[in-house]
Amino acid sequence: MGEPFDFHYLLDYLVKLVPTLQMTLLIVACSIVIGLGIGLVVALPQLYKIPVLRRLSQVYLSFFRGTPILIQLFLFYYGLPEILKLVYVDVSKVPALYFVILTYALHSGAYLSEMIRAAVGAVDRGQVEAAYAVGMTGFQAFTRIVLPQATAISLPVFSNLVIANLKDTSLAFSLGIMELTGKSQTLAVMSRHFVETYISLAIIYFVISYGLEKLFHLVERKLLRHERQIVSDEKPSRYRKWKQRRFALSPGFGRGGQENEA
């Protein structure tokens, strides 16, 4: 098998992998932004119960949710050029990255549309009626009343989807994209320090995911400030709790200590 474990490689690879993070984040950002657009377009026929389009969006949903993303990548990368050839469009010179972003956007779009549908449905109908009664148009009611609340409701799900998307990008290297995982494969094969490479890879994925999670939690707290009972403002941090317990136990700091001295 590989070489014996060497801690230096771990740090070294961490530094070498970080530049490829750019590619990974590019794929995530593009596919989530495009996916949101697709998700909204797909969710609308379901929300407004438009007859034919509704069926079509259901077919789209069940395809992208029912097949593995790896298969979807292959299908788009190898299949789409063949189909386009029939209508005399040559895409053989288009870089693989575009296919990857397209696939991830369509894949995320399916999940995002379900998220949008659920969130919009969760804003109670009475508020929309109140908006109409105040004299707002349908568009004003949607953008001013429904959308801000739906955004806040959907944030936990959105956070999950972005993190899932981030981790899914590790499959893009199967089409030769040099993102985090792709780069780590090369490094590992060249040096035969497999464990070190994958540990540093895991650390990077973890740090990014954790950072995103915290970031989304912060935004959620800000958006849900009108719901005191769901996101509480004064949650003592774990460190503060731990410190309090320590001070309470140790003699000389807490009240107990003074009593001992007296």
Binding site: D124, G126, Q127, E129, A130, A131, Y132, A133, V134, G135, M136, T137, Q140, R144, I145, P148, Q149, A152, R225, H226, E227, R228, Q229
Partner: protein, 250 residues
């Protein structure tokens, strides 16, 4: 003046309103009474098109809507001339009390934000919530929320305010404060149509009482006449069931 002619509304095969004619003079306070399922809430919701009537005609002053084929603009105008206070308050949950009242002023009426703020504060003070301007609905009691709802309706300066059972969702101890506010604005001469189960309140505040049952207006008149000497048998039965003496005698 508001004039409804031959308003009809069905949900599927169930005909809820069977041709309602009702005239409300300017400054009048009309109370609509009736057993549940009699169509009173549906009638109220038809007046500002939250429910689409199948047939009939709605006239407010010199503006009229033919209900069978209304265009979007007519509905929009109709809604600007009316305001509604809901049973479940329906405040915008992500906005403070002040923002709830301001919303209609600067989004719909296009009044500048500063002016809207001054007007909204005035109105919230009028309903006794001058100290709750920056509270979110989740931080207010039911009675306070409903008073914000009333301020929001008043802000639009409508021709008529429609009250849909404004106290039905409230704890008994909170009913009084809301009724007091409605009583106060009734004295200012704003036209109001109130669907309510508070008989004492209706008798006291209304200048005209309408009794509905099974989608038709059974009887209407001055509150004193209707409550003390109803002509129709159905009205008599309803009032007998609902008055406290009869309800509590064993």
């Amino acid at each position: 003046m508001i004039k409804l002619t031959q308003i009809r509304k069905s949900f599927g095969r169930n005909e809820v309103l069977k041709g309602i004619d009702l005239t409300v003079e300017k400054g009048e306070v009309v109370a609509i009474l009736g057993p549940s399922g009699s169509g009173k809430t549906t009638l109220l919701r038809c007046i500002n098109y939250l429910e689409k009537p199948n047939e009939g005609r709605i006239v407010i002053d010199d503006f009229s809507v033919q209900c069978r084929r209304p265009d979007k603009k007519a509905i929009h105008t109709l809604r600007q001339k009316t305001a509604m206070v809901f049973q479940q308050y329906n405040l915008f949950k992500h906005k403070t009390a002040l923002e709830n009242v301001m919303e209609g002023l600067f989004v719909v009426k296009k009044i500048s934000k500063d002016e809207a703020r001054i007007r909204s504060i005035e109105l919230l003070e009028k309903v006794g919530l001058g100290n709750k301007l920056d509270s979110y609905p989740s931080e207010l009691s039911g009675g306070q929320q409903q008073r914000v709802g009333i301020a929001r309706a008043l802000a639009l300066n409508p021709e008529v305010i429609l009250f849909d059972e404004p106290t039905s969702a409230l704890d008994p101890e909170l009913v009084g404060e809301v009724l007091a506010v409605i009583r106060k604005i009734a004295k200012e001469g704003i036209t109001m149509i109130i669907v309510t189960h508070e008989m004492g309140f209706a008798q006291d505040v209304a200048s005209h009482v309408v009794f509905m049952d099974e989608g038709v207006i059974v009887e209407q008149g001055k509150p004193n006449e209707l409550f003390t000497s109803p002509k129709e048998e159905r009205t008599k039965q309803f009032l007998k069931r609902i008055t406290p003496e009869a309800a509590y005698s064993i």
